[in-house]
C-alpha cells in the first residue's frame, strides 16, 4: 500500500494512541489542576457563577464529576471513571465513523 519507507501500521498507531489516552485518563488525570477553568473563573469573577444549576439526572450519575461512586480511593475512583469514559467515547465515535464511512473495499 505504501511505497515509502516502512511505516507504522494503522493498527499499531491506533493501539499506541489508545494506550496513551488510557494512561492520560486513568493515571495522569489525577495530577490535573483543580483550579476552575477559564469560563468558571470568569463567571466567578464577574459574579454569575451562582446562576449555574446542577442538573438532577446526571449529577446522580454513578460517575458524576469524574469520580466513581462506591470506590473510596480517590486515585482509583478517578481512574475507573476516566478509563470508562475513554472507552465509551471510543466505541461511540468509532461506531459512528464506521457507519458513515465510504466502504472502499466492498462491491466489485
Amino acid at each position: 500500500m505504501s511505497t515509502r519507507r516502512a511505516s507504522v501500521s494503522t493498527r499499531t498507531l491506533v493501539l499506541v494512541g489508545l494506550l496513551v489516552a488510557l494512561v492520560l485518563a486513568g493515571f495522569v488525570s489525577y495530577y490535573a489542576s483543580s483550579h476552575p477553568d477559564g469560563l468558571e473563573f470568569v463567571a466567578g469573577d464577574k459574579g454569575f457563577l451562582d446562576t449555574a444549576k446542577d442538573h438532577k439526572s446526571s449529577a446522580d450519575s454513578p460517575m458524576s464529576d469524574y469520580s466513581t461512586k462506591g470506590v473510596d480511593d480517590p486515585r482509583l475512583s478517578g481512574a475507573v471513571a476516566g478509563i470508562t469514559g475513554t472507552v465509551l467515547v471510543l466505541v461511540i465515535a468509532g461506531g459512528v465513523a464506521l457507519l458513515v464511512r465510504r466502504r472502499t473495499h466492498v462491491g466489485d
Partner: protein
C-alpha cells in the same frame, strides 16, 4: 469551557440546541467524504484521545486552568466534519455520565466547542496553509496557529450567546475581554498540544493526517485515484 445549565436562558439554549442538531446532521453527511475503511478507526481514537486529554486541566496562572478543546486537532487529523462528530461525542458522554457541562446546555457546548471551535479553527488552518509553502513541514505549525485562534473564538462566541440570553446582567465588554483574554492564554496550551500530537502522527503516518493530503499529493504526483473513483 463547558457551559453549565443556568448560564443561558431557555430560548437561547433551545436555539443553540437546534443549531447543534443541524450541525451534527450536516457533519454526518460531510464525514462520509472524509472517512473510509482506512481512516475510520482514527476517528474513534481521536475522540477518545480528546476525552482523555480534557480530563487534564493545566494551570494558566492566577488560580485558573484550562484544557484542550481538541477541535482543531481532530479536524487536522480526521477532517473537519468528522471533528464535529468527535467533539460532540465527547461532550455528550461528559454531560450524561460525568455531569460536566449542562444537559440543557449541551446544544450550546456543541455549538461553541464543536461548530465554532472546529469551524473557525479549520478556516484558520486552511488560510495559514495557503500562505505557507505546501509542504508537510507546514502542517503542524498551521495546526498550532489554528488551535491558538480556535479557543478565544469559542470564548467570544460564548460572550455573544451571553449577550443574547445570559441570565445575569453583566457588562458585556468586560465579559468579552475576560473571556477572550483568559482563553487566549489557554489557547497557547491548545496550540502546543495540537502541534505536538499532529507532528507525532505526521512523523509515523503522514497519509493518515487529513490536513496533510494536499502536501502529500504534491509530493507523490502520479498516484492512485482511479480505483476509488470507479467504485
Amino acid at each position: 469551557m463547558h457551559v453549565p445549565d443556568g448560564f443561558l436562558d431557555a430560548p437561547t439554549s433551545a436555539a443553540t440546541g437546534a443549531v447543534a442538531v443541524v450541525g451534527i446532521g450536516l457533519a454526518l453527511r460531510g464525514a462520509r467524504r472524509e472517512l473510509d475503511d482506512r481512516t475510520a478507526p482514527m476517528a474513534g481514537l481521536v475522540a477518545a484521545f480528546i476525552f482523555a486529554t480534557q480530563m487534564i486541566n493545566f494551570p494558566v496562572g492566577a488560580g485558573t486552568s484550562g484544557h484542550l478543546l481538541g477541535g482543531v486537532l481532530a479536524a487536522v487529523l480526521v477532517g473537519p466534519w468528522t471533528a464535529v462528530l468527535c467533539v460532540s461525542t465527547v461532550l455528550l458522554v461528559q454531560c450524561l455520565l460525568f455531569a460536566d457541562g449542562g444537559i440543557t446546555a449541551l446544544g450550546t457546548n456543541v455549538t461553541l466547542m464543536g461548530l465554532v471551535g472546529v469551524g473557525v479553527g479549520w478556516l484558520v488552518f486552511r488560510l495559514v496553509r495557503a500562505i505557507l509553502p505546501n509542504r508537510l513541514a507546514s502542517v503542524a505549525p498551521a495546526a498550532a496557529i489554528a488551535a491558538l485562534v480556535s479557543v478565544p473564538a469559542a470564548a467570544l462566541a460564548f460572550t455573544g450567546l451571553y449577550a443574547i440570553g445570559g441570565e445575569a446582567p453583566i457588562a458585556l465588554d468586560a465579559l468579552a475581554t475576560a473571556m477572550v483574554g483568559w482563553h487566549t492564554v489557554i489557547g497557547v496550551g491548545e496550540a502546543l498540544i495540537t502541534g505536538i500530537v499532529v507532528s507525532a502522527v505526521l512523523a509515523v503516518r503522514p497519509d493518515l493526517v487529513y490536513g496533510a493530503r494536499s502536501a502529500l499529493e504534491k509530493r507523490t504526483l502520479e498516484v492512485r485515484t482511479s480505483k476509488v473513483v470507479e467504485a
